[in-house]
């Protein structure tokens, strides 16, 4: 059983009268020869790790060995100024929490990569807390995120060295956006629109971490990725269209990734890594480490 395009998945759903979560479940069960229970057992494990990583980052000390990140998630969570109310603030804190736990050698679930691991947990925990979505439904949301990731990986790339940060936080934001639409009862077509919006906002985003470490700017880009996911879902649920279909947007990310200079793709040679301050931090970090 094969899905090459998001439109294939939508077509399958139409034909089989199933939703996108059920389509991904069918795909996994048939291709891997496993039961429904085995798939959901794996999803539960992923969700537990995601929730734990959010919780840890919001409650424990998180100073990275490099010193670049220093308890930012808690700072955001405890902030008294709220630019758009408590929900956005908390969602942002959750994404940073996972980034900090990851950088401090804590346990995370890559989704789809370690560098972008904050977005899906922040989206899912926020949907549970703010929208009271049940855990069972959240597992189906994970299936929807996976089918979006599957099609993205097939036609573009998750690797920072190939598609830049667009392939990491961009794809994670797209997975999150589609999941939010699904969990709020949107249609399959609306899920695709949300994917399109999220990827268009990430188009051309470079991978330029300071010192080659998964900290700066990865962690704050995860936070912005969560906002991207909610904004994209909001637009899709309102019924506006991406104009460029999601599958074509994915093809465009592949083209843009190929056109991006290798210096801007996880090489440490361009962008923020190559700024005066970025270089200074790198020197300082590796001096203290060695």
């Amino acid at each position: 059983m094969e899905f090459n395009l998001l439109s294939d998945v939508v077509e399958y759903c139409r034909r089989e009268k199933k939703d996108m979560a059920a389509a991904m479940l069918d795909y996994e069960m048939r291709n891997k020869g496993v039961t429904r229970d085995a798939v959901y057992a794996g999803l539960k494990q992923i969700l537990l790790v995601m929730e734990d990583s959010v919780e840890q980052g919001l409650t424990q000390m998180t100073i990275t060995p490099s010193g670049m990140l220093n308890n930012w998630a808690k700072a955001v969570n405890n902030a008294t100024v709220e630019t758009l109310g408590p929900m956005l603030k908390k969602a942002v804190a959750r994404a940073i929490a996972v980034g900090e736990v990851n950088a401090c050698m804590g346990k995370i679930a890559a989704a789809p990569t370690a560098g972008s691991a904050g977005i899906m947990p922040a989206v899912l925990v926020t949907m549970m807390e703010e929208h009271r979505i049940s855990r069972e439904k959240i597992l189906d949301g994970l299936l929807v995120s996976a089918v979006i990731g599957l099609i993205f990986a097939r036609n573009s790339s998750f690797a920072g060295s190939e598609a830049g940060c667009m392939g990491e936080t961009g794809s994670a934001a797209a997975m999150g956006a589609g999941t939010i639409v699904y969990l709020l009862g949107g249609t399959d077509d609306q899920i695709l629109e949300a994917v399109g919006f999220a990827l268009k906002a990430s188009m051309g985003l470079v991978c330029d971490p300071v010192g080659g470490l998964v900290e700066e700017p990865c962690t704050t880009r995860n936070a912005v990725g969560v906002a991207n996911a909610f904004v994209s879902a909001q637009m899709a649920l309102a019924g506006i269209k991406s104009l460029i279909p999601a599958d074509e947007v994915i093809f465009a990310t592949k083209e843009v990734g190929d056109l991006m200079s290798p210096r801007l793709k996880e090489s440490g040679q361009g962008g923020l890594a190559n700024t005066k301050t970025g270089r200074e931090i790198q020197k300082k970090v590796f001096k203290t480490l060695d």
């Binding site: 992923i46 790790v49 050698m105 346990k107 370690a114 599957l150 990986a153 900290e215 970090v285």
Partner: protein, 231 residues
């Protein structure tokens, strides 16, 4: 079973951060080296090459490899304290670093282990990203396997009929050989045999008992979090 990616290739692996290549993959190389030692390690010498050499501390590559040598999977939270654990378990270790080694993949580690029963092994592995690894050298022989299935590694005198003899011993028990790679020096042959299912202990004992066989080790696939299904 199929070339289609799994749901858990998209969501997962569950791993200790920060990097799937520099942390999770590194721990797997250490873990595989321990399986190839088939002994309790008492001493380890590790050489890190290229990107591993340059960025190991920021990514915890060194702690991850030691954790793997102690038998921790890539999702084991003890990795963070692996140096302290190693001291408690009386494992001595040291690292050396080679910043530019063009002949190796950018994330490569050489792990030499000594065990309490007297076993030794030297392994070179590369971390490919997403926690995937490739073992490239064992005891000086060029190899190429990913340890995602049951893998038997054998070093024997290159006597006529040796390969048929060993594959026969495996097939006799109804174990299907998925892939087999052979590399040779002047007098010895290395066989890497990938199997669909676990090989019974009696088969391994039978191969070990052959006078012209020097080294038989089994590397079992790792169930990293939920990224794999038990078979």
């Amino acid at each position: 079973m199929s070339e289609q990616p799994s749901l858990f290739d998209i969501l997962g692996p569950i791993m200790i951060g920060p990097s799937s290549s520099h942390t999770a993959g590194a721990s797997r190389i250490g873990y595989i080296a321990r399986q190839l030692l088939d002994d309790v390690p008492v001493k380890a010498h590790i050489t890190l090459y290229n990107s591993f050499a340059k960025t190991h501390k920021g990514h915890g590559t060194d702690r991850a490899i030691i954790g793997g040598i102690l038998g921790y999977g890539p999702d084991d939270e003890r990795i963070r304290q692996s140096f302290e654990q190693a001291k408690q378990e009386r494992l001595e270790w040291d690292f050396s670093f080679v910043g530019d080694a063009v002949r190796f993949h950018s994330n490569t580690a050489r792990v030499k282990l000594w065990g309490e029963k007297g076993h030794t092994v030297e392994v070179v592995g590369a971390s490919l990203g997403g926690g995937r690894v490739k073992i490239q050298e064992i005891e000086g022989f060029t190899v190429d396997f990913n340890a995602q299935t049951h893998t038997l590694v054998i070093i024997a005198d290159d006597v006529p009929g040796s390969i048929q003899h060993i594959s026969g011993a495996i097939a006799e028990k109804g174990v299907n050989i998925a892939n087999m790679f052979v590399s040779r020096t002047e007098t010895k042959a290395n066989m890497v045999i990938e199997l669909d299912v676990a090989v019974p202990a009696e088969v391994i004992e039978k191969i070990q008992a052959l006078a012209w066989v020097h080294f038989v080790r089994l590397v079992e696939p790792m169930l990293a979090g939920s990224s794999r299904y038990e078979k």
